[in-house]
């Protein structure tokens, strides 16, 4: 038997995360990128160093838009559950319908019509990620609210507020974090797609999509490879970590 101190739910969740091998690989890749990208200007010139330094713009923007989108999605899903049955049905059917649309085209449309502003782009990219996060959030919360220990807490005389604070919030934290994480790869993909078409980040902000566009325009296959590979690698790591988080949140020991 293990000692109780290592059997806390957080320990078990982290064990499940580290048992998920793609997630561990993804974390390693992402950590390496996080070190290499800021250090890229020190490496001097060359296609690889250029591609690495372009990651600054892409990753920072993905983080920003992903946080906004993930946060908005979590708020959306939580409000839907909190506001009662009718609101829930309306809000979730909107989210489901939006999820079915190619929202990335909205990013292009907005950039094309209103010019390439960082704020507008961040907002639109966040919007592409939010509905999927909202759907995940609502599902997680609904299944959490059905769990028996909440009924038991009610039988133990706890008020609704105490149950929310002590039982629902702590148990929702990890599943909702896992749901919100899915906004990061979506944001990165949407931004890269828009930048590839020249409708993404403003000129002067380096990004993988922008570099790819330049390389393709010049017809230089050697220059295409580094940003394309780095982009694919980051997308894969983000998705793998997302899967690992979901396994950590959902699994039973």
């Amino acid at each position: 038997m293990r000692s109780p101190a290592t059997d806390t739910p957080w320990h078990m969740a982290s064990r499940r995360l580290t048992a998920h091998r793609p997630a561990v690989a993804g974390l390693a890749v992402l950590a390496a990128l996080a070190l290499a990208v800021p250090a890229a200007p020190l490496l001097g010139g060359g296609v690889v160093a250029d591609a690495l330094s372009a990651g600054q713009g892409s990753l920072a923007f993905a983080l920003l838009a992903g946080l906004i989108g993930g946060g908005a999605g979590v708020v959306w899903g939580t409000l839907a559950v909190a506001l009662g049955q009718r609101a829930e049905r309306a809000m979730m059917s909107l989210a489901n319908r939006l999820m079915g649309l190619p929202l990335v085209l909205g990013v292009l449309l907005a950039s094309g019509l209103a010019g390439r502003g960082l704020g507008l782009l961040a907002g639109m990219v966040a919007l592409t990620a939010a509905p999927a996060v909202a759907v995940l959030t609502q599902g997680e919360l609904r299944s959490l609210l059905r769990r028996e220990f909440l009924t038991a807490a009610q039988a133990s005389g706890l008020s609704g507020r105490a149950i929310l604070r002590r039982h629902i919030a702590p148990n929702a934290a990890l599943p909702l974090a896992a749901a919100a994480w899915t906004a990061l790869p979506r944001a990165l993909a949407a931004e890269s797609f828009a930048s590839l078409l020249g409708l993404g980040l403003p000129d002067g902000v380096p990004s993988w999509g922008g570099q790819l566009a330049t390389a393709v325009r010049l017809g230089d296959p050697l220059a295409v490879a580094p940003p394309a590979l780095l982009l694919a690698l980051s997308l894969w790591s983000l998705c793998a970590i997302g899967d690992g988080l979901r396994a950590a949140a959902g699994g039973r020991p």
């Binding site: 293990r2 109780p4 739910p9 008020s159």
Partner: protein
């Protein structure tokens, strides 16, 4: 004496480090039904797999298994291939085993399904597994096995997820098939899975060894006379219904789960709520504690109506009314230690106990339920089933309740552990002078523990009597079926319970009832008094008919 169809001789299985099965020897003759019972993890599944010739990888097998003819194993979950229709699965299996073409396979499939009393069998062959109800899925799984005409059929915990009434009948039909065709049938399961009922020979698997099965020597029995006295809990015309949305005409649709139920519970009394799953017993138990909002009626605790009680009064009432949940581990927050949750319960329900005094109360209660203090620092996921059940009991006892509402309190426990826990529950009830409201689908446990019983069907009481009377002289066909199933006899009800969304007119049992006549469709039978304290809701309770079988 005919030669056995299946024979194991000094069969041992070990992993190199642990001995899993230890020198088992037995034989199964034609037309014989052997049951192998054992607690969870005793090696039943491993044994059956080995007997079927599908040994687990990584295990060493010694000794010998001899079988004649075709062996077939029905696995524990009774899995069907999800993307194939039933007809296609029959065709595939029968083509493989018997080399039948599709038409012949179809005919045989229909015959096998009809043997297990599946109505409109030919039409069911077009269905996919997910379109079948759980009882129907089990009939299909077993029919699939019968159709392949095995000489040895091994079934691992067959139909364990079904209600006892349905399961007992299905197992009886399976045994009947074995006797008819001269096949050997091996059924395995936990002691409470009812596999011993149709068996001609019963063996018990305990820590890798086989013994002739004997009924457990120590069973929890309530020997006391029912205490007289006025009711402390009284439930009047309680109704619980859930909204289902609207029809196209704009009328609200409701799913009525508890339909105008009334009863009283005296101090120190044990009242059993007996019924199949879906009969409303669990919802009733929760509605009494106001964990499910009632749609109408009254629940009065000490002459105070709980439905209209303000939060403060409700909290005072919760101190007296506590609950045991069917899955005690799931009723504990996975993110907090047991100690933190106990503390929280005491803090909410007993503000009169100072924070410094809580540890003493918790320690005393832990000793009462037989748990060490070290359990307080552990998390629910690390508890064994019996420990979790004890922890759930301790939490319910902490505030010093006077009524325990138990919803299948031993559902996660098996065999000896189950009896240990129920004995503890009875003992604590006596020392603490608790009243118990005990909801269960197992008539045996329910009638053994209780003073008085209510038999529930579709949210209504169909029979009410004291437990001794009910055990000896149940009048309602549904009560008789529940008791028969608990004794592993064949219940006389046929077919599956109707959907709660489309209940039949008149008597809710009439579609399954052996006594049903035309009049049953017209009126819901009222509760008639048969003898003092014994009431039955059946139009024909006095026609003591042929439904004893």
């Amino acid at each position: 004496m005919s030669t056995p169809l299946l024979e194991a001789e000094a069969l041992s299985i070990h992993t190199g480090r642990d001995i899993l099965l230890d020198r088992l020897s037995f034989a199964v003759n034609p037309a014989e039904v052997l049951s192998i019972t054992g607690a969870a993890g005793s090696g039943k599944t491993l044994l059956l797999r080995t007997l079927a010739g599908l040994p687990a990888p990584g295990a060493w097998i010694e000794g010998e298994v001899r079988a004649q003819g075709r062996r077939l194993l029905v696995t524990q979950d009774g899995a069907l291939t999800p993307h194939l229709t039933l007809g296609a699965q029959f065709a595939e299996l029968l083509a493989h085993h018997l080399g039948l073409d599709e038409r012949a396979a179809r005919q045989r499939a229909v015959a096998a399904l009809e043997h297990l009393h599946v109505s409109a069998a030919a039409r069911r062959l077009a269905l996919y597994p997910h379109e079948l109800s759980e009882p129907m899925r089990w009939r299909a799984v077993l029919a699939l096995a019968l159709a392949a005409e095995p000489t040895v059929l091994l079934a691992d915990a067959p139909a364990a997820s079904l209600d006892p009434t349905l399961r007992a009948r299905l197992l009886d039909e399976l045994a009947g098939w074995a006797r008819e065709t001269g096949a050997a049938l091996v059924l395995s399961g936990r002691p409470e899975d009812g596999v011993t009922g149709p068996a001609t020979r019963a063996l018990n698997l305990d820590r890798g060894r086989l013994t002739e099965s004997t009924p457990p020597t120590e069973t929890a029995v309530n020997g006391e006379a029912p205490p007289p006295g006025p009711p402390i809990l009284s439930v009047r015309e309680l109704r619980v219904a859930f909204p289902l949305g609207r029809t196209w005409r704009g009328e609200d649709r409701w799913l009525t789960v508890v339909d105008g139920l009334s009863f009283g519970l005296a101090e120190g009394e044990i009242l059993t709520l007996l019924g199949e799953s879906g009969s409303g017993k669990s919802v009733l138990a929760r509605a009494v504690l106001r964990l499910v909002p009632p749609a109408g009626g009254q629940v009065a605790w000490m002459a105070r109506d709980l439905a209209t009680a303000p939060p403060e009064a409700m909290r005072r009432a919760r101190r007296d009314l506590q609950m045991l949940f069917p899955d005690p581990a799931a009723a504990l927050d996975p993110g907090q230690t047991i100690g933190a949750q106990f503390d929280e319960t005491l803090e909410a329900l007993r503000p009169d106990i100072p924070a410094a005094g809580r540890a003493r109360v918790i320690g005393d209660t832990l000793r009462e339920v037989g748990l060490p203090d070290s359990v307080l620092t552990r998390f629910p996921a690390t508890l064994a089933p019996l420990e979790a059940a004890r922890a759930g009991l301790a939490r319910a006892l902490l505030p010093g309740p006077r009524l325990l509402v138990c919803d299948e309190p031993a559902a996660t426990l098996s065999g000896v552990e189950r009896e240990t826990f129920l004995t503890l529950l009875l003992e604590l009830r006596r020392t603490r002078r608790l009243s118990l409201l005990h909801a269960t689908q197992d008539a045996d446990t329910g009638l053994r523990l209780g003073h008085r019983a209510l038999v529930l069907l579709s949210g209504r009481v169909v029979e009410e009597a004291d437990c001794a009377t009910l055990a000896a002289d149940a009048r309602h066909p549904y009560s008789r079926a529940l008791i028969a199933a608990a004794e592993a006899r064949r219940p006389a009800l046929h077919g599956d319970p109707p959907s709660a969304l489309r209940p039949p007119s008149g008597c809710p049992l009439r579609l399954r009832c052996p006594r049903a006549r035309d009049y049953c469709a017209q009126a819901i039978p009222p509760l008639d008094e048969v003898s003092p304290g014994h009431r039955v809701a059946c139009h024909y309770w006095d026609t003591n008919g042929s439904d004893a079988a």
